[in-house]
């Protein structure tokens, strides 16, 4: 057997190492520094360092740690998404945490450590790496959801999220143990190899598939395993909701792609059927539930559920277009959704919760620029050109049509039309109702920067997506 640990392997995980290092530094500095905003800046510096090393790894395609970890373009692209999401979430957090009176250094450390866990998930080539990455991310997120210690909703959300998360992890582990039983190895390649030699309709493989997918559907909040999402999203600090809805979701999809296109690829005929059903349910129920929400956080939570349903189409198609579609969609969704969340964060003031749709009323008169940006983000979420959201949806629909999943495509586009209805409710409140709330927005430099970045990329990818498509094309992973 080849040498397990080589020194150059450290270089391959430099981005992760820097996140860990800065996470530690933050914990120490938390004891020394009075102005907690400094810690936010340190965290951003850590992300910057990590990003610099990540850029160094562009184009690298190696297996590290004797095949436990893959450092390829797929992982690279997702790591980029995690860093962007973490950076933007931190940018919108700094002032927000002051308002919530819960400004502590661990917050930033936990975000960095969770992001590190995600990076391992995206690079996993082995069940053990995958699971450890997943738990690192999950435990960090549980704490972050309950970060508003004096807030009952936040506590409740954290407990729910924790219990259901632990439960789903257990189911996931059960599937993993079955796979280990089948293959005698935890490597994705070995598992795929063993599965391909099993008979068709092998009960053990199918049980493994079903438990494994159930566990993963929890993580991506797919119907019927989605009930935790609205509660967790509503109770969590808004900045963490933003982080969860993009980064945690993207990481879970990276895991899904790694496992489904790697370890259990031989079961593809079975899992496409499961995914297709789940995708249709997720899109439809997510959208329908969103229509009736009057709380913006819950509305966006349900909308994020339905978005997970769309992304599954990429996996069902399983061809090049579909594999481009998933990272593209998640990248675009990251910018767009964080932009929208940044505006929700800006609504929060000391005496205003800023979560009810009515609190958006007349935003256009109070702050036209913010309202127009929100309009653009919402149109992008609905997939209206020339915003980036259209390009994202385009790839998914194209993948479905290309592989002959016509019915799925029709259901998906009709859902896209339905989703416009509830996004427009926010637009109506912002532009067509009189302002009930007279005070302005809390526009800290961080929030403004996050909005600007989100806006620039939403329009850039919408109008000229070529460079991003090229990047996503490199990230296509070859199926087992």
């Amino acid at each position: 057997m080849e040498q397990f640990f080589k020194l150059q392997d450290l270089g391959a995980i430099a981005p992760e190492i820097y996140l860990l290092l800065f996470g530690m530094i933050l914990l120490i500095f938390d004891l020394l520094v009075k102005d907690k905003r400094v810690l936010g800046l340190i965290a951003l510096a850590g992300i910057g360092m990590s990003g610099a090393f990540l850029f160094n790894l562009h184009g690298v395609d190696v297996e590290a740690y004797g095949g436990l970890l893959k450092v390829d373009q797929f992982a690279w692209f997702f790591k980029l998404i995690f860093l962007i999401a973490a950076a933007l979430s931190i940018a919108i957090s700094m002032r927000y945490l002051d308002i919530e009176r819960e400004h502590h250094g661990e917050y930033y450390a936990l975000i960095l450590l969770a992001a590190m866990g995600m990076m391992f998930m995206a690079g996993a080539a082995d069940l053990v790496t995958l699971y450890i990455g997943l738990e690192t991310m999950a435990i960090g997120t549980y704490v972050l959801v309950g970060f508003l210690r004096s807030n009952q909703r936040s506590n409740e959300a954290a407990l729910k999220y924790f219990l259901l998360g632990a439960f789903s992890s257990a189911i996931l582990l059960y599937g993993m143990s079955l796979l280990y039983g089948v293959a005698g190895s935890t490597r994705f390649a070995d598992i795929a190899d063993a599965l391909s030699r099993r008979p068709v309709d092998d009960p053990i493989s199918l049980t493994a598939l079903i438990t494994l997918s159930a566990g993963m559907f929890f993580k991506i909040a797919a119907v019927p395993f989605h009930q935790w999402t609205p509660d967790a999203y509503e109770g969590a600090p808004t900045s963490i909701t933003a982080f969860m809805s993009v980064a945690v979701k993207a990481a879970s999809f990276a895991m899904l792609v790694r496992v489904f296109m790697g370890a259990i690829y031989p079961l593809r005929p079975e899992w496409t059927a499961i995914l297709a059903a789940v995708s249709v349910l997720t899109m439809t129920i997510g959208n329908i539930a969103a229509i009736t929400q009057s709380n913006i956080k819950r509305l966006l939570a349900y909308s994020s559920i339905s978005h997970a349903g769309y992304v599954l189409i990429g996996l069902i198609a399983g061809n090049d277009t579909g594999m481009i579609a998933i990272p593209m969609y998640l990248l675009i969704y990251t910018f767009t959704n964080l932009g929208a969340w940044a505006i929700v964060v800006a609504l929060r003031k000391r005496d205003v919760i800023g979560e009810h749709i009515d609190e958006m009323n007349g935003l256009f008169f109070r702050h036209p620029v913010a309202a127009i940006l929100m309009l653009i983000f919402l149109l992008s979420l609905a997939g209206i050109p020339p915003t980036a959201g259209f390009i994202a949806k385009y790839f998914l629909f194209a993948a479905a049509i290309e592989t002959g999943h016509n019915v799925l495509a029709v259901i998906a586009v009709l859902n896209a039309a339905v989703s416009l209805y509830f996004y427009l409710r926010i637009v109506v409140a912002m532009f067509m109702r009189d302002a009930t709330e007279k005070t302005g927005l809390v526009l800290s430099p961080g929030v403004v920067t996050a909005m600007a970045v989100a806006f620039i990329f939403t329009m850039w990818i919408g109008l000229y997506p070529d460079p991003f498509i090229a990047m996503a094309r490199q990230a296509v992973i070859v199926a087992y």
Binding site: P385, F390, A398, V413, L414
Partner: protein
Amino acid sequence: MDFFRTHILTIVAFWPVAGMLVLLFMNKENKSLIRWWANLVVISGFLISLPLWFWFDFENSDQMQFVVKAPWIQSLGVEYHVGIDGISLLLLLLTTLMGPLAVLSSWEAIDTRVKEYYAFMLMLQTGMLGVFISLDFFMFYVFWEVMLVPMYFLIGVWGGPRKLYAAIKFFLYTLVGSVLLLLGILALYFTYPNIAAQNPAIAAQFGTEPTFNVLAFHAIAPFLTATFQWWVFLAFFVGFAIKVPMFPFHTWLPDAHVEAPTAGSVILAAVLLKMGTYGFLRFSLPILPEGSKAFVPMMITLSIIAIIYGALVAMMQPDMKKLVAYSSVSHMGFVMLGMFALNPNGLNGSIIQQINHGISTGALFLIVGIIYDRRHTREIAQLGGLSNRMPVYATVFLIMTMSSIGLPLLNGFIGEFTIMMGALQENLWWAIAGGSGIVLGAAYMLWLYQRTMFGKLDNPANQNLPDMNWRELATLIPLIAMAFWIGLYPAPFFRALDKPVIKLVEKVRPGYLQGPQLNATAPQGAPVEAAGAAPDGAGETR
């Protein structure tokens, strides 16, 4: 000048949005500056579109002209590809003409949130122009969707009492149609390389990579299987039929029209609806000839239902604007009837009737808007005897009523006559059904005119209504002039349409024009002569 001539389409299309960007920097309190600026932009936009008429090569009106092609999203094969033939030329000029009139008509009617209003109007104008010049299906789709947003706001912010409902209904209806349209486009996109691989001639001209080039899709039409065409036609049908709107997808239209501000209704009726019919002409017919033929019975049935049903419902409306809106449904049924007669006369008439409908119905909405500005009601029962107080208004209204019901010497007659000829060549019953629509049209329009203009001026609220002012007259005079021009001398318009229509018929029904049955009735080029002769003949009988 050379640059202008080469890129005229781009300049015409993006001129309004460029004006909008400047407008965004103006102080929103300075309403008159904003009004002047917006009017200046659209009027100059119309003027710079006029050279198209003179530079357009009518001898080759079936060829795409003023073509500009540049890569846009190369990895998807999307290009910035614009060009016009005779059909798009007319619709493009209709749009640049209606834009200024709609903007001008809003001068006094819109007094709240003026800056946003004009910004959306200008954005809308660019969106509509983009639709008519796009030769890349992706780009077409982008413009097609972009234009929904400003229209949504125009209805939703400046509309009537039920504006929110009407606005969202408009947006959702159209979006459902357009996303299905997108699936049809994608199906063509992925089929193209397979066909190009087997046909060196097509591959040599358009390449073997997937493409959104509309001309490439036109080229592969004969190689698409009937089942494929059937499904894609259905997808396109939903997208375009909702826009037209064809029965039974028309229910958004009365709501949108009634709630929209006058200018919104004018643009909606005059231009937006034409985007649907244009979609059928540019995409469904030439790309999916077999599919189109397979659906002729359905299309004709729906058109005839729309003609008669629209007319009957219009007759019963107590609200002037709603009446005109339902008359739109009826008239667009006519347009679709002519189109799916699938012969030169029917198609020529269909396209001319699209222009006519833009002029007449646009004008009628302006006319309704004028009375609404004065009385703040559109209820027919509230009006009556207005011709005593407002003679100029009554005259203009009369001309446009006559134009709408197809009186000879005016534009509506030319369109309806040519469509009826086309329908008659195919099936006597189609023509009879269409003819009954004309009769009903005359009934509801004349009845409307009688109830509002004639009779006693007994309602005290109507006693002191001022007649039209110069600005209102200015919005209507161009339309009156156009109505007479098309009515008296439509030859230039048919000259633009003749060749593209012949080409279209050859595509959909190969050999039809050489067929023995046609030589007896109408030789090639007949529609021009026939229609050109029609008003003269009619003039003599008067």
